[in-house]
Each structure stands twice: as structure tokens, then as C-alpha cells.
């Protein structure tokens, strides 16, 4: 099959004469801009998404590492970056330590670099926003979805390549707007990634402010996601290769399909909410501002009559589906890698597909479990509690199916597989700790504490991010033609796994001890004199351990970063186009795939995970391999 690749090239594109005027320019040399910046090739767009999102992931992580300093050593100047931040952000954001005096004599001059409350709030809000909307979703959906989905379904590209390009541009400029907001007067948005009103409207006295930028940035990001979602769904419905029926789709494609639906239908209400909050912010309306609002001791001049809870509803109507947008693609990636490295079919493929659909469906009717403490009636609280418990069932089904898939496999423990394997228990911990949050009785104790932080970070950090790392190590050879270093990959994995857990596990304890989230001083204000009143020294002291783990986790990414760049030119070369011996279609193209992907139209004859089929020459049977009885001997590449 390999030799066939070079023989046929682009013979299929010419049967529709009338289409030549529609910009079919793939035979001309494209300029730099068209090739790398405004490309309409899904693979280039996927890589654009990937690189941009990894940069944002890094940036969001840096913000968090600075916040962890403030939590561990409140009031102390930040090392390394403190002076620099003091220069660029000014004294309202970054303060100076008091001089140290002994008997009225100064013994040490205070250093600049203390994180001020406003900066802490800005960093917190932007950490969340960047991680969710600018890092994880673009990486999981934008990058992997774009690069892999059309290949896995045997399509030449997305159905609307130009829309795809526009979608990336919206994402990019949305990110630029978010970043720009750090440098405007008053700094970036400070009201959490959830941007609850009225706080979000009154946090700054002047407009436009960080929140204005946040909303406009969000509108860009939402537009990007909506265009992407339309494109993904249409592509999966319309461009599946011949013979690729729904139940032959790789689970990854299913995960992307459900994800796209979540984005398509859950994002518009947040867009609406964003418009309303923008009106509150700029035009002095009162959608989310109640009558009698008092700000800083002064009656507010707005008309009032609005509802702060309305914002919460519209936000969480997106917010909860969004968490599944974060996790589903990772589940898809992990499934591909587990099938490939156990050399076994996935156990319960069908139930996984149905589970993913049920998750998608139910995730629209659980949102108010984030709002139990807003004083809703007991009956409606019970409704949301019930749906929340129900949604954990399909999650458990997927997890169980993946665990069972491991059973009896001759597992290859390469780097992608290690990350994929670690995903399973990490997601398990995250999911199980969600149950006490879903019951409204226990949530009253746990709501808005570090327990919640630990819960969802277990899902998105050691969960989703491990899944994404697995995907990067797994598809890297497809994109570059070279492997990333296995040794350094394992170092990266081991260290990340250890520090992730050291980082997030203690937060469960802090939360159950009653430490609230979003506290600028790490809870020292509530330091109690005894065990009954306030937080104990020990609980607050955990902040230091956590921060150490966070910085160590940061260092543990250095092997990855170096490996990533070094391997582009120096990694071990692949010897054929299907280096992992995989069954799915993305490995049936040249490496890297040319514009238009497949050299000849592809036809599918079987399901996605036919590994170790008895009697077959190799331990994998690719989806496009014809059945024996119809097409003679199986031909292997």
C-alpha cells in the first residue's frame, strides 16, 4: 500500500469542471500567509489550534504558579517575577513589602513584588478562563478534533474549510483580547471565570474595564466554537467514507460529535448572557442588577429590577455541558490509545457510544447543581440532584468499559499508553468526588470550598490534560513523521503523575476542613485559636506543600517542552505510515498527509477496533481492509 501512495496523485479532483473557478488552488504554490496563517487545510488549522492552545496552557499555568506563591507566603514579594511585574503592572497591582525594622532601625528594605488583592482576583479569573476556553477546549476540540476527525472518517477535509479558518481566527483574536485586558486601567476581569453578576458589573468603577474585555473576548470565543461545532457535525454526518456507518466510527469521532453538539446548543445562552452583561456593563441596564443595589456603601444609580440569578442560570446552562466538552474528547483519545496498546477490541464499544450520547443529553439538565445554595425550592433541587446522579451512570459505564478493555491484553507500556492508563483512575477520583457535590445536603458543606477545586481539577488536570498529553505523544508521528523520545516521555509522565496528586489531593482535605476557594490570603484570616473556631495551622500550612507540588509540576514539564521541539527534527524516524500498527483510517494516509488527505477514495469494511483477529496476518486489521471473501487475500502494508 505504501508504494501505491506515490503512484496515484490527485486524480480524483478533476471530474467537476464547473468547480474550477471556486478557488481550487492546491496545485499553485501558496504564499506564506495562505499556507500557515489563513490556511483552509484542516490539518494546518489543527496544528495552529494546537500550538496556540499549548501556549495558553502554559500561560494559564504560570498565572497559577504565581497565585500559589501568594497562597503559600501571603504578603511576601514574589521571587523571580516580582520586580518585573511591579514595573509593568504598577503599584496598584503589585505592592512593596514593608521595610523590616528592629527598634526603629531599618534592617532590610522591603522588596517590590507583593501580589495585591486585585491582581490575585484578576489572575484567578483569567487562569480559569484561559484554561477552560483558551487552552483545553481549543486543544481537545480545535486541535485534535480538527486534525484527527476528518482523517479518521476518511474525508478530504472539513465540509466548510473556509469557515474552519475563520473559526480559528475568531479563537485567536478572542485570545488576544483576553490577553490585552491585563494591560488596561484596572487590569483584567476579576470576578472569577464564572463572572457572577452583580460583582462582575460593579468590580470596576469605570468602563470599559477588564470585564468588558472579558465579555467581548468571550463573544469571539463563542463564535469560534459555534462555527467549529457546525463544521464538525456537518463533516461527520456528510463526509464519512463509503462503508463507514455510524457504528463503525472510532469512539474518538463519537466523542467529538457529542462535544460539538454540546457546544452548538449550550454556548448560545452564554452568548446571550454575555450580551446582557455587556449591556449592564456599558449601557447601564440592569439585567442582573437587583433593585436597591448598594455598592461600597452607596446606593447604585442603576434602575434595578434585574436578577443576579438569571446570570447564574445562563452561565451554568453552558457551564455544565462545558465540563463534558472538556472531558469527552479526552475520553475519545484515551479509548483510541487503549485499543491500540492492548491490541484488543474495545470492550463494550456500543455501550460506550450510547453512554456518550446519554451524557450529552443529560448534561443539559443538571446545571443548577452549581446553584444549590441560591435558595431554590426543594422540589427543583431534588430534580437537579436526581439528574446529576443519573449522569454519573454513563460516565461510569465508559470508565468501566475502558477498564475491562485492559483485561487480558498484552499491554504495550509506551508513553501515550501510560498517560491514557493514568487518566482512568484520575478521572475516577474526580467523578466519585463529584457525587457528594451532587447531593444537595452534602453540597451545602462543600460548596465553594477547596473540595470543589480538587474535584474538578482531578477531572480536568490529571484527567483531561493527561488524555491530551497521551494524544500528543500518540499522533505526533502522524504530524511530524518522527516519534517523541520514549525515555523523556516516561520521565515526564512519572513526575507529572506524582506532582499532580501531591498538588490536588490535599485540597480535598482543606475543603472538607472548610477552607473557601478564591481567598486572597490562603485562609490565614480565618486562622483559628482552637479546633472549633477557624482553620487550623495545619490546614493552612498545607498551602505550602501544595504550592511546592505546583512548582515542581511546572518543572516536570520541561522534559516535555524540550522533547516536543527537539523531536521535530531529531526524533526517531517512523519506518512506515502506520507506526503504532493501528486500525483506524488516519494511519492510511502518507505522512504527513497531503492537502486532501487520501490519495484515493477510501472504503471501509469493518469496525474501528479489530485487533488480534484470529487467523489474520498481523495483529491488527485496518478498517479499509476488504473482507477476505470479497477481495481475495488481505494485503498488508
Amino acid at each position: 500500500m505504501d508504494s501505491a501512495h506515490s503512484a496515484h496523485s490527485h486524480t480524483h479532483a478533476h471530474d467537476h469542471d464547473h468547480d474550477h473557478d471556486h478557488g481550487h488552488d492546491e496545485h499553485h504554490e501558496l504564499g506564506f500567509w495562505q499556507k500557515y496563517i489563513f490556511s483552509t487545510d484542516h490539518k494546518v488549522i489543527g496544528v495552529q489550534y494546537g500550538i496556540t492552545a499549548l501556549l495558553f496552557l502554559f500561560f494559564g499555568f504560570v498565572l497559577m504558579m504565581m497565585m500559589r506563591w501568594q497562597l503559600a507566603y501571603p504578603g511576601h514579594a514574589m521571587p523571580i517575577v516580582g520586580k518585573f511585574l511591579y514595573k509593568i503592572l504598577g503599584p496598584s497591582m503589585v505592592g512593596v513589602e514593608p521595610d523590616q525594622m528592629v527598634n526603629g532601625v531599618m534592617v532590610a528594605k522591603g522588596n517590590p513584588g507583593v501580589m495585591m488583592p486585585d491582581l490575585y482576583n484578576s489572575f484567578g479569573a483569567m487562569h480559569g478562563t484561559i484554561m477552560v476556553f483558551l487552552a483545553i477546549v481549543p486543544l481537545a476540540f480545535g486541535a485534535f478534533g480538527n486534525f484527527v476527525t476528518p482523517l479518521q472518517i476518511g474525508a478530504p477535509d472539513m465540509t466548510f474549510p473556509r469557515v474552519n479558518m475563520v473559526s480559528y481566527q475568531f479563537y485567536f483574536w478572542g485570545g488576544v483580547i483576553m490577553l490585552a485586558s491585563f494591560f488596561i486601567p484596572g487590569g483584567a476581569a476579576k470576578s472569577g471565570w464564572t463572572s457572577y453578576s452583580p460583582l462582575a458589573t460593579v468590580a470596576d468603577a469605570h468602563v470599559p474595564n477588564g470585564q468588558t474585555f472579558w465579555i467581548i473576548g468571550m463573544v469571539f470565543l463563542i463564535t469560534s466554537s459555534l462555527l467549529g461545532a457546525v463544521n464538525f457535525i456537518t463533516t461527520i454526518i456528510q463526509l464519512r467514507a463509503k462503508g463507514l456507518s455510524w457504528m463503525r466510527l472510532p469512539f474518538f469521532v463519537w466523542a467529538q460529535f457529542v462535544t460539538a453538539f454540546l457546544l452548538l446548543l449550550a454556548f448560545p445562552p452564554l452568548e446571550a448572557a454575555g450580551v446582557l452583561q455587556l449591556m449592564d456593563n456599558l449601557l447601564g441596564t440592569s439585567f442582573f442588577l437587583p433593585t436597591g443595589l448598594v455598592v461600597a456603601g452607596q446606593a447604585s444609580v442603576v434602575s434595578g429590577g434585574g436578577s443576579p440569578l438569571l446570570w447564574q442560570h445562563l452561565f451554568w446552562f453552558l457551564g455544565h455541558p462545558e465540563v463534558y466538552v472538556l472531558i469527552l474528547p479526552a475520553m475519545g483519545i484515551v479509548t483510541e490509545i487503549i485499543a491500540n496498546n492492548t491490541r484488543k477490541p474495545i470492550w463494550g464499544y456500543r455501550s460506550m457510544v450510547y453512554a456518550a450520547m446519554v451524557i450529552g443529553f443529560l448534561s443539559f439538565i443538571v446545571w443548577a447543581h452549581h446553584m444549590y445554595l441560591t435558595g431554590m425550592g426543594t422540589r427543583i433541587a431534588t430534580f437537579f440532584q436526581t439528574t446529576t446522579m443519573m449522569i454519573s451512570i454513563p460516565s461510569v459505564i465508559i470508565l468501566t468499559a475502558l477498564f475491562i478493555s485492559l483485561w487480558g491484553g498484552s499491554i504495550r507500556f509506551n508513553t501515550p499508553m501510560l498517560f491514557a492508563l493514568a487518566f482512568l483512575p484520575m478521572f475516577g477520583i474526580g467523578g466519585l468526588t463529584g457525587l457528594p457535590l451532587g447531593f444537595n445536603a452534602s453540597d451545602i458543606h462543600l460548596h465553594d470550598t477547596y473540595y470543589v477545586i480538587a474535584h474538578f481539577h482531578y477531572i480536568v488536570a490529571p484527567g483531561t490534560i493527561f488524555g491530551l498529553f497521551a494524544g500528543i505523544y500518540y499522533w505526533y508521528p502522524k504530524i511530524t513523521g518522527r516519534f517523541m523520545s520514549e525515555t523523556w516521555g516516561k520521565v515526564h509522565f512519572t513526575l507529572s503523575f506524582i506532582f499532580m496528586n501531591l498538588l490536588f489531593m490535599p485540597m480535598f482535605i482543606q475543603g472538607m476542613e472548610g477552607m473557601s476557594r478564591r481567598m486572597y490570603d490562603g485562609g490565614t484570616f480565618y486562622l483559628g485559636t482552637d479546633q472549633v473556631h477557624g482553620l487550623s495551622n495545619w490546614v493552612i500550612g498545607l498551602n505550602r506543600n501544595i504550592s511546592m507540588a505546583a512548582w515542581a509540576l511546572g518543572l516536570a514539564q520541561i522534559p516535555f517542552i524540550v522533547n516536543f521541539f527537539y523531536s521535530i527534527n531529531n526524533g526517531k524516524k517512523i519506518t512506515n505510515d502506520n507506526p503504532w500498527g493501528a486500525t483506524t483510517l488516519e494511519w492510511q494516509t502518507p505522512t504527513p498527509p497531503p492537502h486532501g488527505n487520501f490519495e484515493k477514495p477510501i472504503e471501509v469494511f469493518r469496525g474501528p477496533y479489530e485487533y488480534s483477529v484470529p487467523g489474520h496476518v498481523t495483529d491488527y486489521t485496518t478498517q479499509n481492509e476488504p473482507d477476505k471473501h470479497s477481495h481475495g487475500n488481505p494485503v498488508r502494508s
Binding site: P156, T234, A266, G292, S303, H595
Partner: protein, 286 residues
């Protein structure tokens, strides 16, 4: 490279790509307006009983606009039908009418908006409230039409057909009611004298605003819903115009593709009409 099913339907789904795409997009639009309608309901049931404004808008203008949009929907579907029957000329005529309808709609809408921006409520220092349209010719003070509503210097303001309410409500409840606009004050309004014109000195004014989005939650949601809808009208009209004019050459080369484009833009246009069908009773009548 050719994207499959860009023009011809895929056999198993029976659809061409753009048709799937536009329906998905419309689904998201439904959720967008759905969220705004939810907000409307919540703000309305959240308002103190009897304070939600009724009949603040001109029903006749709203009705004309409804009919204009319905007419445009008819011409859109007829223009598509004409193309199907190979009558390009008729298609062009119908779609020209559509564009005219869009223009008419926007004109009427802008009259309505202007009316609201010229309608003011002044709270005077003596506790009375003056409500009506400002007569810009006779007014000498500089009255802003936009936030922030602050007066400086001297001069007088002349309000046409002023509705004067002599007692400014002081209790918290009445205050909340006032925030919702003059409708709840109708009892007092009956007692209030109807004067053809009222003059106010700048120095008398304590606070004021016009009936822009900032006035109360009703005007806020009214401007948001109709504003967003108007943006859709403009967007849809631009697309229809582009296909109708600058891109008409595609018809000769690829009539099927061209007809598909008309169909897809038409679907969007019908959605815009659909949204208005709900907006009209909700904002003008109920």
C-alpha cells in the same frame, strides 16, 4: 481538492452540506433567542406585581412591520421556487422585493427607536415627575440622549404633552415601582393634569433619563431583543443581496449550487421572520 456533497445531496442523508450546516446554525440561533426569551420571562415575573409596562410601543407600527416581514418571507420562498422552475428573472424581482421589505422594516424600526430616545422622564427636586417627549427646538439646555444623564450649565427644557405626576413616591415600594416606569403610576396619572407643554429649568432637575435601554428592565430587554433581531435582518439582507447582485454570475455556471445558496439564505431569513412572529406579541401586545 473537491469537498464531496457540496452541491449534490449525499444519498444516505439526502442532504447537501450547506443544508445540514444551516439547520445546525439555526438550532444554535434558537437557543440564543431562547435564552433571551427566558430572560424576558424571568424579568417579567420578577417585577413587582403590576409594574411591568404594557403597551409602551406603537402597536400599529409593530403590526406593519410584522406584515412587512411576512411579505418578505413569502417573496423569499417564491424567489427560490422561481429558480427551481428556471425563471431567473422572476427570482430577481421577488428577491428585490425582499430587500425592499428589509429596508422598510429597518426604517420603521429606527423610527420607533428614535421615539424612545426622545422620550424622557425628569424627576424634579420638588418631588414631581415630568414625563414626555423633549421639544428640541424650544429646549435651550443641553440634554444628553445617552448615558450618563447629567445636566450642566443653565437653560430650560421643554417637554411636549407632558405627563406630570405631582407626588414623587417616597416609600421603598413606590420607589421600586417608579423604577419600572410610569405605567404603575396610572392611578395617580389619572389625577395628574394633562398639559400640552411643560417647561423645566435645569436647576429644578434632580435626576432624569430617556427611555433607552437603561430606563428599566423592560426597555433593556426590548432593545436587546429587537436590536439583536435587527442585526439578523441586516445580516440576512446583506447575504441575500450578495447572492442576488455581485454573485449572480454563479447561476450561469452552476445553477444547482446557486439555487442551494438561495435556499440556505432563505432558511435563515425565515428564522428571522419566525423570531419576529414571537417578538411582536411578547413586546408589543402582552
Amino acid at each position: 481538492m473537491e469537498i464531496p456533497y457540496a452541491v449534490k445531496p449525499r444519498p444516505d442523508t439526502g442532504l447537501y452540506n450547506a443544508k445540514v450546516g444551516i439547520w445546525l446554525f439555526l438550532a444554535s440561533e434558537v437557543m440564543l433567542f431562547g435564552a433571551l426569551f427566558s430572560s424576558y420571562i424571568l424579568l417579567r415575573v420578577g417585577a413587582p406585581a403590576g409594574t411591568w409596562p404594557h403597551h409602551w410601543l406603537n402597536v400599529i407600527l409593530g403590526m406593519i412591520n410584522t406584515i412587512v416581514l411576512i411579505a418578505s418571507s413569502v417573496t423569499v420562498v417564491l424567489s427560490w421556487a422561481s429558480l427551481k422552475m428556471g425563471q431567473f428573472g422572476r427570482y430577481r424581482v421577488f428577491q428585490a422585493i425582499t430587500l425592499l421589505c428589509a429596508l422598510t422594516f429597518m426604517l420603521i424600526k429606527s423610527f420607533e427607536y428614535r421615539d424612545k430616545f426622545n422620550h424622557y422622564e425628569f424627576q424634579l427636586k420638588d418631588g414631581s415627575v415630568v414625563d414626555g417627549h423633549v421639544d428640541w427646538e424650544k429646549t435651550t439646555a443641553k440634554v444628553p440622549k445617552w448615558i450618563p444623564f447629567k445636566l450642566s450649565g443653565e437653560g430650560k427644557i421643554v417637554v411636549e404633552h407632558a405627563n406630570v405626576i405631582s407626588k414623587y413616591p417616597t416609600t421603598a415600594e413606590n420607589h421600586a415601582q417608579l423604577m419600572e416606569g410610569p405605567a404603575p403610576l396610572s392611578k395617580e396619572a389619572k389625577e395628574a393634569e394633562e398639559r400640552p407643554e411643560k417647561e423645566i429649568e435645569v436647576s429644578q432637575v434632580k435626576a432624569f433619563s430617556n427611555y433607552g435601554p437603561w430606563h428599566n428592565t423592560y426597555t433593556a430587554i426590548y432593545f436587546t431583543l429587537t436590536g439583536l433581531h435587527a442585526l439578523h435582518v441586516v445580516g440576512g439582507a446583506i447575504v441575500i443581496f450578495m447572492i442576488w447582485g455581485p454573485l449572480a454570475g454563479v447561476y450561469r455556471k452552476d445553477p444547482v449550487r446557486y439555487t442551494n445558496r438561495v435556499e440556505v439564505s432563505g432558511l435563515f431569513w425565515h428564522l428571522v421572520d419566525l423570531v419576529w412572529i414571537f417578538l411582536f406579541p411578547v413586546l408589543y401586545l402582552l
